[in-house]
Symmetry: C2
Subunit: 202 residues, 2 copies
């Protein structure tokens, strides 16, 4: 559909890069480019600088895998965090989601995905060895496994739990149940069953 000859090569190059972003295709990339050119000083140049800066300074934390300008990251190096609890997440986006909730004060460990026989992803492809290493530290008392509630996520959770059985840490997982603000009528059977099963006294 998109022919190179129709716009200048530099614009064309930019459209091609933008269309590689998740959620962007050639059409939305073209719209974005027009918007960017109209807002050169307040959006385009700042975005270019910001991208270059993040590319230069941001990298994964060598302890937990979080993205930060410092290594160890601001969570791993914070003195306010509870070093006895490690929360295992699939991806940095999950870590961010938990941080936004503001309800967890321990440390994190990003394993970088899930086990998947179909995609050929085994334990060695994830940051599981480093998790076992960290969990074997005597200070750590609990590992919360917060992988997604998908089949792959739960498989991974079970695998990690098994590997952690030798160590002295308690392993826990997030509760299943009715989302806060959710309506029962719209919930799937599995969630309703889990919520009923884990009912708690008022």
């Amino acid at each position: 559909m998109y022919r190179k000859s129709s716009v200048g090569s530099e614009l064309d190059q930019l459209i091609q890069y933008l269309s590689k972003l998740p959620g962007f295709g050639p059409r939305s990339a073209r719209r974005a480019v027009l918007q960017l050119v109209k807002k050169k000083d307040i959006l385009m140049r700042p975005l270019a600088n910001s991208l270059a800066e993040v590319a230069e300074h941001v990298s994964p934390c060598s302890l937990c895998g979080n993205l930060d300008t410092n290594d160890p990251c601001h969570i791993c190096s914070s003195e306010k965090r509870d070093r006895k609890i490690i929360c295992v997440v699939q991806d940095v986006s999950d870590l961010w989601a938990l941080e936004r909730s503001g309800s967890f004060q321990g440390l994190y460990h990003v394993i970088g995905g899930t086990l998947s026989a179909l995609d050929g992803i085994g334990p060695d492809d994830l940051n599981i060895a480093s998790l076992l290493q960290r969990a074997s530290d005597d200070n750590v008392t609990e590992v919360i496994i917060a992988t997604n509630a998908t089949v792959d996520g739960q498989t991974t959770a079970h695998y990690i739990t098994e590997r952690l059985q030798k160590s002295n840490v308690k392993t826990t997982r997030l509760a299943h149940g009715v989302p806060v603000g959710g309506e029962l009528d719209y919930l799937d059977d599995g969630t309703l069953t889990a919520a009923l099963h884990s009912r708690r006294p008022f």
Copy 2:
């Protein structure tokens, strides 16, 4: 929803810029940032350079309003284009769409929007004066008005036609009708009426 404290300030800044792109919100911007950090060398740095380069070199053509690294743009300065016909479009994206079709060999004029009483956009806010100037050139014989088939687009088309009446040029507009590959059953009444009205012999 999005709290600054949850990620580093540089990442946060980048997420904020990205979420200003059309079609992007905070969530998709975060996904894009994670993708970008994972592909630093093949996507993030090239995108930063490409943005900086376009911001530096690309600007609207002083004749037609097309975006290009050169001024006049490659269309206005091409010797292969028919200088007798000017096609009036609302935006650069429309110019690109026509160029992709490869079916027009004349010159363009981007007026930069439509007249809109509601939004307070009058003739002076659009590049109409420069169009009248260009149309008054003796070489120009036809002005094709290719504004969108919306109410505002058609209002603008009528306004331009009126202003051009004094000059010697012929003004034409794009045909209404059944889209190629379209099914009659899904077409609106207005389009069907127009298509029937403008029927042509086989």
